[in-house]
């Protein structure tokens, strides 16, 4: 009579998946870049359009890449936290201003403060696509060898910085989330 048990067993399995699903984020795309070399970009600097910024110059250092735009509401909310992080001088932050126009970006940085060592200007979003960006703000952590080790999608807050970024930057191994990509 075991076959009469089949439906309830199948239902049990589905219910387990559904219960697990409550804590998952269906729209969060894990970055295939984790563990791979960070795509190289050379872009015009927002701070000084006569100069260029390339992440090639940062090999040998850990650094952050923060993708933002003046059209992005969450980026504005994140900005204060980024300024605080920059003040701690733990790690350089490279900005990528994507799908934007130059005057708005320059106004943004001069009015709100500039947490970036330099900001690359990516008006057509090609660098964004190379990094698999789908919702600004997004932040990538790159290690000394130029390998992407972590991606955070969404607004960085103090808690996120303390729990997800600092342990990875300092190699304390005390990381709460083991995933290579986290979404807020």
């Amino acid at each position: 009579m075991w076959r009469y048990l089949v439906p309830v067993l199948i239902f049990g399995a589905i219910a387990a998946v559904l219960a697990g699903g409550l804590h998952l984020k269906p729209g969060c795309i894990p970055s295939p870049l984790i563990g791979k070399p960070a795509p190289v970009f050379t872009l015009v600097k927002v701070e000084d359009p006569t100069q260029q910024i390339s992440n090639r110059d940062f090999i040998g250092h850990k650094y952050l890449i923060n993708v933002w735009g003046t059209w992005c509401i969450a980026c504005r909310q994140e900005h204060e936290a980024l300024l605080q992080i920059a003040k701690q001088a733990v790690i350089p932050i490279i900005g990528i201003d994507t799908k934007d126009d130059m005057p708005s970006a320059q106004r943004w940085l001069s009015q709100l403060g500039n947490p970036y060592v330099a900001t690359g200007f990516d008006p057509d979003g090609r660098t964004g696509i190379d990094y698999g960006v789908y919702g600004a703000p997004e932040t990538f952590l790159v290690d000394e060898h130029g390998t992407v080790i972590y991606k955070y999608v969404g607004e960085i807050t103090d808690t996120v910085w303390r729990d997800s970024f600092l342990p990875r930057i300092n190699n304390t191994g005390n990381i709460k989330d083991r995933e290579g990509t986290t979404c807020s």
Partner: protein, 652 residues
């Protein structure tokens, strides 16, 4: 004040639902007649309080009471009255209240139309329905209270989502929910039968109309949703295999299987445990749909504002309802034995195949819908499953099913004499194939194997459905309504298949930029864009274009597509201009203003697309005629009733 009364009425309704569940189940178990009567009174009370509560919320919408959070978020003083009523179910909280109201109406119907069944059985059915409505009432009260106040109040509401401001979409949720929720009745019947350990032909005959009426509403609801997507979204798509669409489609497939299986149980007393299982599955899938829409576990456009606590609540409810019913099934179903046989070629065999294929189809849709979740759950990353996968795998069960249907319609119970059908069937197949070749080669002059197969199937099913009525009419035999209904519903399926095949194979879609005086040809029609002007609606402003459509230089019609900006929720909306004909739709949708009087525009030619909804409508009408068959209204002879009652009493 009436808002608080509405809330209070809801709490009373919850208490009554629990009363109904207790007295219904315990009354039947202990054979206390006054307890069973109490369950019926509780249904009546619950009906009054739930409808009162629903009325209070509607009143809050009608008088623009923005001190109610739900009203403030979904209405606006500019919103036309009709949509203010539709806005009651425009978002999560109110739509749940609609769900509950419909369930209570169904319960009341069960407590009234039940002369054919013994009171103890009805009492159990009402008890199970009480558990379901109690669960939903608690869900609303605990996690989704539509009567929550907004303090301080606001002067203006945020308006109903413009996408929902459409007559078809206003009617779509009540229709769909009536179908969804109606499946609770066969579910409760199955559970009651399992408790009694007795499931016979009388049970099947009584349960079938409930299942069929739900199925009719589901059919109409899904078709209406698809029709809405087609013209309101404005881009010509009519089915997207979106998780929420799948959530409505799976119960439909399952209830279709259920209706067919109920026929076998009614006529031959066979497939008893299978029928009970299908009744449980059908309602389980409709609850699962509720979970998927409201828990946020899947990405979907239709998803309501999701909240993990709501998801958790529904999950617990699912576990109790479905887990309980399936456990009961595992325990009691082995007792539901039947010893009757049938020939290899018989109506029973065909219906069993139909069931396997329909349940298979539903399982495939479920597999595709849940697989991103399963893979994520197992820590294997993220994948997407969309149209390309569904389109391919849905055909696996459907093609054999259509073929078996064309033949199986002519099979008799017990043993079919298909030999005498060989000649007519071969002839009809020949005609269908000739028709398909004619369509592909002559009308559209473009050939694909799948298209020929599809057109042949569609035509064959239509011919096959007409055969029996035709021969009986020629022989001047009487045709019972159930038979009429069946033939008509199958004919509807044939029409649907023709529509889907043709539109998939021969639709033409062109994206281009248009300006005044430019003429473009699509599918043999010339689209002449003359000018644009500004128009003003009750709560929106729009740019309206004028497009003249010509065939062979002669003007057929003028279309007026619009690009609307609603005042409150300022997102742009496209109102397509559609010229519909039975044989084709022409559609013009406006994209963006490109400057210099130029617009990006999508022009479409969709042959036979109306057949898709026409087919669904014919199916529903077929179901309606079948449900009006005399045998569902005939009173069961008193002796049989007494026999039922005594066996039931002996069992319990």
């Amino acid at each position: 004040m009436s808002v608080e009364l509405g809330h209070f009425a809801l709490i009373l309704a919850f208490a009554l639902a629990i009363t109904q569940a207790f007295f219904g189940l315990a009354g039947a178990a202990t054979r206390r007649e006054h307890w069973m009567m109490a369950a019926r009174s509780a249904v009546a009370g619950q009906l009054v309080f739930v409808l009162f509560s629903f009325g209070c919320l509607t009143a809050a919408f009608l008088r623009n009471d923005f001190s109610v959070l739900y009203v403030a978020e979904n209405s606006n003083t500019e919103l036309p009255t009709f949509y203010r009523i539709a806005a009651v179910w425009g978002a999560h909280e109110g739509s749940l209240l609609l769900w509950l109201s419909i369930l209570v109406v169904w319960s009341a119907a069960v407590s009234v139309f039940n002369r054919a069944m013994n009171p103890a059985f009805i009492s159990k059915v009402l008890g199970v329905l009480g558990l379901v409505s109690g669960g939903f009432a608690l869900f609303i009260i605990a996690t989704s209270n539509p009567f929550e106040r907004l303090i301080p109040s606001v002067v203006q509401g945020r308006d109903l989502n413009p996408l929902l401001q459409d007559p078809a979409l206003a009617a779509h949720p009540p229709m769909l929910y009536t179908g969804y929720v109606g499946l609770a009745v066969p579910f409760a019947c199955a559970v009651a039968a399992l408790i009694e350990g007795k499931l016979d032909a009388t049970w099947a005959r009584w349960t079938k109309p409930w299942a069929m009426v739900s199925w009719i509403f589901l059919t109409c609801g899904i078709a209406l949703g698809s029709f809405w997507a087609y013209y309101e979204l404005g881009w010509g798509g009519w089915w997207f295999w979106d998780p929420v669409e799948n959530a409505s489609f799976m119960p439909w497939l399952m209830s279709t299987a259920l209706i067919h299986s109920l026929s076998v149980t009614e006529k031959r007393g066979l497939f008893k445990s299978w029928t009970a299982l299908l009744a449980i599955f059908a309602f389980s899938l409709s609850l699962l749909g509720t979970f998927l829409v409201r828990s946020g576990v899947l990405v979907s456009v239709h998803a309501f504002a999701s909240d993990p606590s709501r998801g958790l609540f529904i999950l617990v409810f699912l576990l109790a309802c479905i887990g309980g019913a399936l456990t009961l099934f595992a325990w009691r179903a082995p007792a539901l034995k039947s010893s009757a046989g049938f020939h290899v070629i018989s109506r029973e065999s065909f219906l069993l195949m139909n069931n396997v294929l329909l349940v298979g189809a539903a399982t495939i849709v479920l597999l595709g819908t849940l697989s991103p979740l399963i893979i994520d759950f197992l820590g294997l990353g993220k994948i997407s499953v969309g149209t390309p996968w569904f389109d391919r795998f849905f055909l696996f069960p459907m093609l054999p099913m259509l073929l078996l249907l064309a033949v199986g319609m002519h099979a008799n119970w017990k043993q079919a004499q298909l030999a005498k059908m060989r000649k007519p069937l071969l002839m009809m197949s020949g005609i269908a194939l000739a028709f398909a070749l004619l369509i592909t080669l002559v009308v559209y002059s473009h050939v694909s194997i799948l298209n020929i197969v599809g057109e042949t199937m569609g035509a064959l099913i239509i011919l096959s459905s007409l055969y029996e009525p035709f021969t009986r009419w020629r022989a001047k035999h009487h045709l019972p309504r159930a038979m009429w209904g069946m033939c008509l519903a199958h004919l509807g399926l044939g029409v649907f298949v023709l529509g889907v095949t043709t539109v998939r194979s021969y639709e033409i879609q062109k994206d281009l930029s248009l300006g005044s005086g430019k003429i473009v040809e699509v599918g043999g029609y010339d689209f002449n864009w003359t000018n644009t002007r500004q128009v003003r609606g009750p709560n929106y402003d729009a740019t309206e274009a004028e497009v003249h459509i010509l065939r062979d230089g002669r003007e057929i019609t003028v279309l007026h597509p619009q690009k609307r900006i609603y005042h409150t929720q300022t997102n742009p909306m496209t109102e397509a201009g559609i010229d519909s004909h039975l044989n084709r739709d022409l559609m013009v949708s406006m994209g963006d203003d490109l400057g210099n009087g130029m617009w990006s525009v999508r022009l479409q030619y969709r042959p036979l697309i109306r057949f898709i909804w026409l087919g669904a409508l014919i199916m529903a009408i077929g179901g309606l005629i079948a449900v009006l068959d005399r045998r569902y209204r005939v009173k069961v002879p008193a002796t049989e009733l007494a026999a039922n009652a005594s066996t039931a009493a002996a069992r319990s």
